[in-house]
C-alpha cells in the first residue's frame, strides 16, 4: 500500500519535471525571439561600435542592391526605346547620386571608432537617403510615368495615319472606326493631362519632406500614384481603341 503510493508520487514528480522542463525550453526560445523583434536596440552592446558598423554595412548593402535593380529596369526600358535619353539621364543620375552617397557613408561608417558616432552614421542611412520609403517608390513610379508619356506621344503622332487608314476603308465601317478614333484621341489627351499633374508632384517627394511631415508626404505620394495609375488606364484604353480600329478595318478590307 505504502509502496504503491510512493510509486505514484515518483511518477507525478517525473511528469512535473518533464512538463516544467519543456515549458522552460519553450519560454527560453520565445523570450529572446520576441525580445529581438521588440527591442532591436539590444542588437549591439552599448559600446560595441564594430557591431553597429556591421549592421550599418548590411543596411547600406541592401539599399545599394535595390538601387542596382532599379537601374537595371531603367536601362532595359531605355535600350528598348520606351523612355527618352533625357528620362534615362534623370533617373540614372538620381540613382547614381544615392549610390555614391551611400558609398561615402559606408566609408565614413567603417572608419568610426566609437559607438555614438557609428550610431549617428547608421541613422543617416534612414534620415538622409530614405531609399525604401522615398526613392524607390518615387523613381519606380517615375519610370512608369516616363514610359506612359513616351507612349502617349507616339499615340498622338499616329493620329494622321489612323485617319488616313479610316478614310481608305469601305464606307460601311468608317462611322464606327471614327467613333473609336474619337475616343482614342480623348483618352490620349486625358492621359497626358494626368501625367503633367504627376510630374508637378515629383519635386515634393524628397527624404526631407518625409522627415518633416510623414503623414503629409504619404498624402502627396498617394496623389502622385493615383495620377499615374489613371494616366496608365487612359493609355491602355487608347491602345485598345486603336486595336479595335485595326481589327475593324482589316475585317472590312
Amino acid at each position: 500500500m505504502f509502496s504503491s503510493i510512493l510509486s505514484r508520487a515518483r511518477r507525478s514528480v517525473r511528469a512535473a519535471t518533464v512538463a516544467g522542463g519543456l515549458g522552460l525550453l519553450i519560454v527560453s526560445v520565445i523570450i529572446p525571439l520576441s525580445g529581438f523583434a521588440a527591442a532591436p536596440s539590444n542588437l549591439c552592446a552599448a559600446n560595441d561600435y564594430k557591431c553597429v558598423i556591421h549592421y550599418g554595412d548590411l543596411a547600406i548593402g541592401v539599399r545599394q542592391a535595390a538601387l542596382a535593380t532599379l537601374n537595371a529596369h531603367v536601362t532595359t526600358q531605355f535600350k528598348a526605346g520606351r523612355i527618352t535619353s533625357s528620362d534615362n539621364a534623370t533617373l540614372t543620375g538620381d540613382i547614381a547620386t544615392n549610390e555614391s552617397g551611400l558609398s561615402a557613408l559606408k566609408v565614413k561608417l567603417d572608419a568610426d571608432t566609437d559607438a555614438t558616432t557609428a550610431r549617428a552614421d547608421f541613422r543617416t542611412i534612414y534620415t538622409k537617403f530614405r531609399i525604401f520609403i522615398v526613392v524607390l517608390p518615387r523613381d519606380y513610379h517615375e519610370l512608369w510615368l516616363d514610359m506612359i508619356i513616351h507612349k502617349d506621344n507616339q499615340l498622338q503622332g499616329n493620329e494622321t495615319l489612323i485617319q488616313d487608314a479610316i478614310n481608305g476603308a469601305p464606307a460601311s465601317v468608317q462611322a464606327q472606326a471614327n467613333q473609336l478614333f474619337s475616343d482614342y484621341k480623348t483618352q490620349v489627351t486625358n492621359s497626358l493631362a494626368q501625367t503633367a499633374a504627376a510630374q508637378q508632384i515629383i519635386p515634393q517627394l524628397t527624404p526631407s519632406a518625409f522627415n518633416s511631415d510623414p503623414a503629409a508626404y504619404k498624402t502627396t505620394l498617394t496623389t502622385y500614384r493615383t495620377d499615374i495609375r489613371t494616366a496608365a488606364q487612359d493609355t491602355k484604353t487608347a491602345i485598345s481603341d486603336l486595336h479595335q480600329i485595326v481589327q475593324l478595318l482589316k475585317s472590312a478590307s
Binding site: M147, G168, L242, L249
Partner: protein, 114 residues
C-alpha cells in the same frame, strides 16, 4: 427485192447521222473558244492582268488592270497594323512597370537601431 432497197436506205441515214452529230459538236466547241478569246482581248473584266501596248509616235505605254476587291488597297492600314503590334508589346511593358512601381517597400525602412 423491195425489202433490200428499204434496208440500204436505213443504213445510209444512220451513217449520215453518225457523221453529222460529231461535226455539229465540233462546230459548237470551236465557236465557244472563239467567243472566249474575243472577250479576253476586248475589255478588262477578266481577273488576269491584261497588258496593252501602243506604238507609233516613238513612245509606248503599258497599262495593267486587275480587280482589287472592296475598298481598294489601304497602305495606311498596313502601317497601322505594325503600330498596333508594337503597342501590344509596349502595353505589356507598361503593365510590368506598373507592377514594379506598386511594390510596397515601406516595411524595409523600419529604423532598427543596433
Amino acid at each position: 427485192m423491195g425489202v433490200q432497197i428499204s434496208g440500204r436506205r436505213s443504213l445510209g441515214r444512220r451513217a449520215t447521222v453518225m457523221v453529222a452529230i460529231p461535226a455539229l459538236v465540233l462546230a459548237i466547241a470551236l465557236g465557244g473558244c472563239r467567243a472566249s478569246g474575243a472577250r479576253n482581248g476586248g475589255n478588262g473584266n477578266s481577273n488576269v492582268p491584261v497588258t496593252q501596248s501602243t506604238s507609233g509616235s516613238g513612245s509606248s505605254s503599258t497599262a495593267t488592270t486587275s480587280n482589287s476587291g472592296g475598298g481598294g488597297s489601304n497602305a495606311a492600314l498596313q502601317q497601322l497594323e505594325s503600330v498596333d503590334s508594337q503597342n501590344q508589346t509596349d502595353q505589356q511593358q507598361l503593365g510590368s512597370a506598373g507592377s514594379a512601381a506598386s511594390v510596397d517597400y515601406s516595411s524595409q525602412d523600419n529604423s532598427i537601431q543596433p
